[in-house]
Amino acid sequence: MKDKHVKRVDLIFEKIECRDVLEKIIDMEPDAICQEILESDLKGRGGAGFPTGMKWRFGSQEESSIKYIVCNADEGEPGTFKDREILDQVPGKVFCGMAIAARAVGAKAGYVYLRGEYKFLIPKLNEELAKFHRTMDEFNQNFRIQVRLGSGAYICGEESALFESIEGKRGEPRNKPPYPTTSGLFGKPTIINNVETLVYTVMIMKYGASHFKELGTKDSRGSKVFSVSGDTPKAGIFELELGMSVNEFVEEFGDGDTKAVQVGGASGFCVPRKRFEETIIGFEGVPTGGSMKLFNSTRSMYNVLHNYLDFFTEESCGQCTPCRVGCQQLLKGVEAVKRGDKNSKYLDELVKLAKTMKRASKCGLGQSVGNAFGSIVENFKEEIIY
């Protein structure tokens, strides 16, 4: 049994010799790699939480002479900054993870899509990449990686929008199906994983699935890197074992006056104090790509909500109706309620609208605007109205 408090883990940032891992996986059968990752129960660390092993297996089963590995480093979720830190501290492990994925599915080309805001990382990444390619040469491996930069568009973190962007187009999400493992970048089978996910695959290949599986809970195996910010004396990046409750988290990171925690960024959920105890951070409770933002009692949740809605109104790609117009309606709607131009019942209408956005939007962005909206309005109605 684990202790009733948050437990620090050091897997992601552990300095290891990637060569050894590469040497090991090169001799492995692709399917054995997929199997190992499957057994670890690793779920994607970008936020959506799709089982990584399953994704790789789907990719490996596709018949295609061209396949791609894409590292999603378009970390744009408000409150998330862990990928930047990972790329800064252990870039070699990220490339190593991509090489493992490449071996598992049979890909020869990889892309790192780095958000434009992190351009300052480029010199370091290039240096590390040259080293990585030298190692690949040594091992007679022809897998090559290029780094592509974003240019300031949150939506490009959505996988199909990211592909569009690499292809030189507007970052507008595609219809699904087909999914990336069937038709991704340039229409080819593609494995796209978050930075952190890729590093975990390295550690799983190093220490074995069982080592990883020992951590966490049944639904949320392993550990996770959290980006902690807001009203906290301990803002920063922390790798913690999964399975803790929001309460445990707040005990560790709160300032003693925490009234709410936004788990998963602007597209995540707001957990109010009364729910701290019962809410588990993980796939059985509130999933998160790592963003944990604490608010104390001095904060107006109206301002928080307004800030998020303003963000989505600008960052929606604009192609689908529920998201493009819905975001504007929610934003203008809460303003109208605040001003008193609309009565409090209008909030109920907006909650219904947010539900439609969740159900009818084309991609994850529009589908998750309702998360923050619903949970903040439900728990802090008075703050929105008065």
Binding site: C317, T321, G333, A360
Partner: protein, 593 residues
């Protein structure tokens, strides 16, 4: 085959079928806005969302392929709520001043909001905060952003059907809009004025610039003699606006209606189409002679047709190095216009300054063409106003003419007589066929060796079609063509024209004569034709065109007695000095990007 259930009813459809099409099989219509049969799937309006039992989110029926065992509901509570929301959201961004809208009564958004009774919708009106603009600078197309629902049909049309890409989606989020380069006017960019975007716009965001009032003013001015010409494709499309089925020919009723509207002379563009064949056919033969006999290296071959003003603007922008290859013949509309204020005025003893020349066209690019500065060879504006098929239907309605009950009438003379060859100008391949019917006969003295004069290899809906005809046993003066295999290519839709020209440019394709029509299907699918359009409708109109051809007493341009007459009395012969003055033109190189 995949089996699934829709609203509890089982259906089997081939793999890859969308939910939308599967539902159609069971006679369930799912509403759509961004979906269009001619275009690739977009899945962005979301009005077609349906519920999959057990599914987390709703599915866009237009974009989602069926899968085995799916249980779909097209009208569940969730679906109804979402659909209503989507329509309300669109309306909240939309200038819903329907009674003042040109598209009132023919608007897909209006129909849907009516269907879903969203009269007292609760959402905030966002139009006040938007700085919508209306672009009225183009002589052909008006773009009103306040009516736009961002379905992107126009952008996909411009890209996928026309290969022009004058329109794009610009910006993102709340600022996302349909734009040209740098938000310039449509008149300042590479737009060809083809109007295909108008044909597919579900609302009033893209409409033709209308000249109805100007035409009424002219008709009702007793000083003016208003001459009207009607293009070949109008007669197979007009009916659709007036309660007839696609493919029903209404030539006689149309003529009767035009007379009732008060046009002083009701004449036919088909006449000048026949004339075009005489000029263009002779031009082709002259070019061939210069190339083959005189070995003149400066002769530009292949020669391309010049009747389609969308094609002309396109080649001016895109392949300016091929402008010498374009026939110098004006389009039939402009030949007619130049003659209306010269020959016609002379014969009918009218002062050309009192003649107002109006044309009814299936086309919006013709509006631009009539406004070109070079189109004033009569000393006046050769064609004063161009109306689309849709505008003519509007005039007929405005005047209270009961179209269906009209007795068929005949065109006036002169310049009202035509042949089947003139009629088929309205379909892709038609100019080629008409030209071959005449040219072959000029060269050999015999009819083209195709049954019933129907040169089927140049007909059809394939984007690019190639055909050749072996020339043998020529008349003496054409003996240099003995044994020559005349090679022809036909393209419709500018995306196909681009492909064809690229092949010519690369040397991959060697032909003598190329026909290009800017619009899918040719003029019968033009940007001024009735809305909606799709391949099925265009095929019906095509059948009607060929049926009209078959019904004509004369089928070859050179047999048109009025054409023979005009050469005798006025022009002399094809490519004469006078012809050059009135019937030929030149082109302008324009920027490609």
């Amino acid at each position: 085959m995949v089996s699934l259930s829709i609203n509890g009813m089982l259906v089997k459809v081939p793999q890859g079928t969308t939910i939308l099409d599967a539902a159609k099989k069971l006679n369930f219509r799912i509403p759509t806005l961004c979906q269009h049969d001619d275009l690739c799937v977009a899945g962005n309006c979301r009005v077609c969302v349906v519920e999959q039992l057990g599914g987390r989110s709703l599915l866009a029926a237009c974009a989602t392929p069926v899968s085995s065992g799916m249980q779909i509901l097209t009208n569940s509570l969730k679906v109804r709520a979402a659909r209503k929301h989507v329509i309300e959201l669109l309306l909240s961004e939309h200038n819903a001043d329907c009674t003042k809208c040109y598209k009132n009564g023919n608007c897909e958004l209006q129909d849907l909001s009516n269907e879903f009774s969203v009269g007292d919708h609760l959402l905030l009106d966002l139009t006040e905060t938007k700085e919508y603009t209306i672009d009225r600078f183009s002589p052909s197309i008006i773009k009103d952003d306040s009516k736009c629902i961002r379905c992107q049909r126009c952008v996909r049309t411009c890209e996928q059907l026309q290969g022009v890409n004058a329109l794009t989606v610009a910006y993102k989020g709340e600022h996302q809009k349909i734009s040209t380069f740098e938000e310039l006017s449509m008149a300042e960019v590479i737009c060809t004025n083809c109007g295909q975007c108008i044909n597919r716009c579900p609302t009033g965001a893209l409409v033709e610039r209308t000249y109805l009032d100007e035409v009424w003013d002219a008709i009702l001015d007793p000083e003016k003699h208003v001459v009207v010409q009607t293009a070949p494709a109008v007669r197979v499309g007009l009916g659709e606006e007036l309660g007839f089925e696609p493919g029903e020919r209404v030539t006689g009723k149309m003529v009767a209606a035009l007379k009732r509207l008060g046009f002083d002379s009701v004449l036919d563009t088909d006449f000048s189409a026949d004339l075009t064949i005489m000029e263009e056919g002779t031009e082709l033969l002259t070019r061939l002679k210069r190339a083959l006999v005189d070995k003149d290296p400066s002769v530009a071959l292949p020669m391309t047709t010049s009747c389609s003003p969308g094609w002309i603007k396109f080649i001016e922008h895109t392949f300016p190095e091929y402008l010498p290859n374009v026939s110098t013949c004006k389009s039939p509309q402009q030949m007619f216009g130049a003659l209306a204020k010269t020959y016609f005025a002379q014969v009918r003893k009218l002062d050309p300054k009192n003649i107002v020349s109006v044309s009814i066209m299936p086309c919006t690019a013709k509006k631009y063409e009539a406004n070109r500065p070079e189109m004033r060879s009569s000393g006046y504006k050769d064609v004063d106003y161009v109306l689309t098929t849709r505008e003519l239907a509007k005039m007929i309605k405005q005047a209270g003419v009961e179209f269906r009950k009209l007795k068929e009438d005949k065109y006036d003379s002169i310049m009202g007589k035509s042949t089947g060859a003139g009629v088929i100008f309205g379909a892709t391949g038609g100019v080629m066929e008409a030209a071959l019917r005449t040219a072959y006969e000029i060269i050999t003295g015999r009819e083209v060796p195709f049954e019933g004069l129907n040169i089927t290899p140049v007909r059809g809906m394939e984007g690019v079609r190639l055909a050749s005809i072996k020339i043998e046993e020529c008349k003496e003066e054409w003996s240099f063509l003995n044994g020559v295999e005349l090679k022809c290519a036909v393209a419709h839709g500018l995306v196909n024209a681009r492909e064809l020209m690229n092949r010519v440019k690369s040397g991959d394709l060697i032909v003598h004569f190329i026909e290009v029509m800017a619009c899918p299907g040719g003029c019968l699918g033009g940007g001024g034709q009735p809305i909606p359009t799709n391949e099925k409708i265009r095929k019906k109109r095509t059948e009607a065109i060929y049926a009209e051809d078959m019904s004509m007493e004369l089928r070859k341009s050179h047999e048109n007695p009025e054409v023979i007459g005009i050469y005798k009395e006025f022009l002399g012969e094809p490519l004469s000095h006078k012809s050059h003055e009135l019937l030929h033109t030149h082109y302008t190189e324009r920027v490609r990007y």
